[in-house]
Amino acid sequence: MRLLKVWSVLLLALASLALAGCAGMLNEHKKQNNASVVDYLYPKDSKVEAMVPASEVNLRLPLRVGLAFVPSMDRTAADLPESVRQKLLERVKVAFADQKFIAAIELIPAAYLRPRGGFDNLEQAARMFNLDVVALLSYDQVQFNDANRLSVLYWTIVGAYIINGDEYDTHTLLDASVFDVHSRKLLMRAPGVSQVKGSAAMVNFSEKAREARVQGFSEAIDNLIPNLRTELVKFQERVKQDSTVRVTHAPGYAGGGDLGLIGLALLAAVALVDALRGARRKRRAG
């Protein structure tokens, strides 16, 4: 009887240790999710174009701007849902909608961009949405998942529900690259970074880790927006000295107060007639 009790305790302890160990193995230690603007615009099988002198960039203000995430080549479970992407892009749109040189900002859904689509795909999307300039958001997000010392309490079974024995550390890098569609020239770029750390219990770790990935993107967007504003100001100054960039305005942008030559002639005629009458009156009075 005693031997049975000893074996039972030993088996229970072994099972608990195994469970605690499993806690550390249930979640992948590293998850990576990225989309590169270079891979999108210059896919590996595309022909390498010879270097040509920089063509002139014509920016006709106000501009119609497109905003899109670079399509990822590997849509894994770690990738952002399209609804979340659109909400993030909407925040960037709202931040720049008040710029006077921007006529409209269109959000380009992922369905309109092909992975490795190249400039041809970008131009197709720009034609569909009638865009002059497109801002592409590329990203690289890495999430490290590790068990901490508290995970030993998972053997209690209850601990797996209430003890935050797993930690996540999410690093996100966003890069906004703004391209002139017609000349294919990169006009400006700006980064946004974030780091989100936290912990969760085993049973709800996947959910918390997913929320952290979304929060990572959200905070990176918050970091990107002021950086992009700064780059925009620098670009406006650079353009004044850059002879390859020509800025013109849509009709109706510049207005003038003009009497017109006919108006001036009419006014002069009135003044002349009145002067002649005045002179005649003086002669009669004199």
């Binding site: 109706g252 207005g255 003038g256 107060g257 030559l261 001036l264 006014l267």
Partner: protein, 198 residues
């Protein structure tokens, strides 16, 4: 004086003129002096000469002898005239901010010309003198504004790509009429009729 300021502004370097011109984005950013100075700078010498010449005509003894200006009732109310000349430029500039949302840049003194023209003509109509000339001037100005609002601009002194900002002409005309009515109150109250000159 206004004509002299316009011609002086026209000889400034372009970067200085650009710093004085009416620009929506700059005004939004706090460069409020442009609400006044935007009426003084022009798109080129031809544009400046046309408006400067019109302002000069109003400053000469010829047009100023029309009842109501300088020697007339408008001139007697010198304080009112000074106030109008201070307040008119920003009111004209604000009319562009409100009624021309697509316009990002503006230059020209014809809003002030419109104000003087409408003021003189209205004053003359009130005092009962020069009614024919004044009526013709006012009618011609209204026709001009209507044509400009429809996109028709006859023999403009503006360079290519620059549209005529008709809201400035309309608001200038209204300001001139209001000025004439305010300045002619003593005349209207006294009930005097006929050719009135100081």
């Amino acid at each position: 004086m206004p004509a002299a300021l316009v011609l002086l502004a026209s000889v400034l370097p372009e970067n200085l003129q650009a710093a004085l011109a009416w620009e929506r984005q700059a005004i939004d950013a706090g460069e409020w002096w442009r609400l006044w100075t935007g009426q003084l700078v022009h798109f080129g010498a031809f544009h400046a000469l046309a408006n400067g010449a019109a302002l000069w005509l109003f400053g000469t003894s010829t047009l100023s002898s029309l009842p109501g200006l300088a020697s007339g009732y408008l001139g007697r109310r010198a304080g009112l005239a000074a106030l109008v000349l201070m307040v008119a430029p920003p009111l004209l500039s604000l009319s562009l901010l409100l009624w021309s949302p697509a316009m990002g840049a503006y230059r020209g003194a014809s809003g002030l010309v419109a104000m003087l023209l409408a003021g003189v003509a209205t004053s003359a109509l009130i005092t009962g003198s020069r009614r024919l000339i004044s009526g013709v001037l006012l009618a011609a100005w209204v026709v001009k504004i209507l044509l400009e609002a429809l996109g028709v601009s006859l023999m403009s002194s503006l360079p290519g790509g620059v549209v005529v900002a008709w809201p400035v002409h309309a608001v200038g005309g209204l300001l001139g009429v209001a000025w004439a009515l305010a300045a002619s109150r003593p005349y209207l109250q006294s009930g005097v009729r006929g050719d009135v000159r100081a």
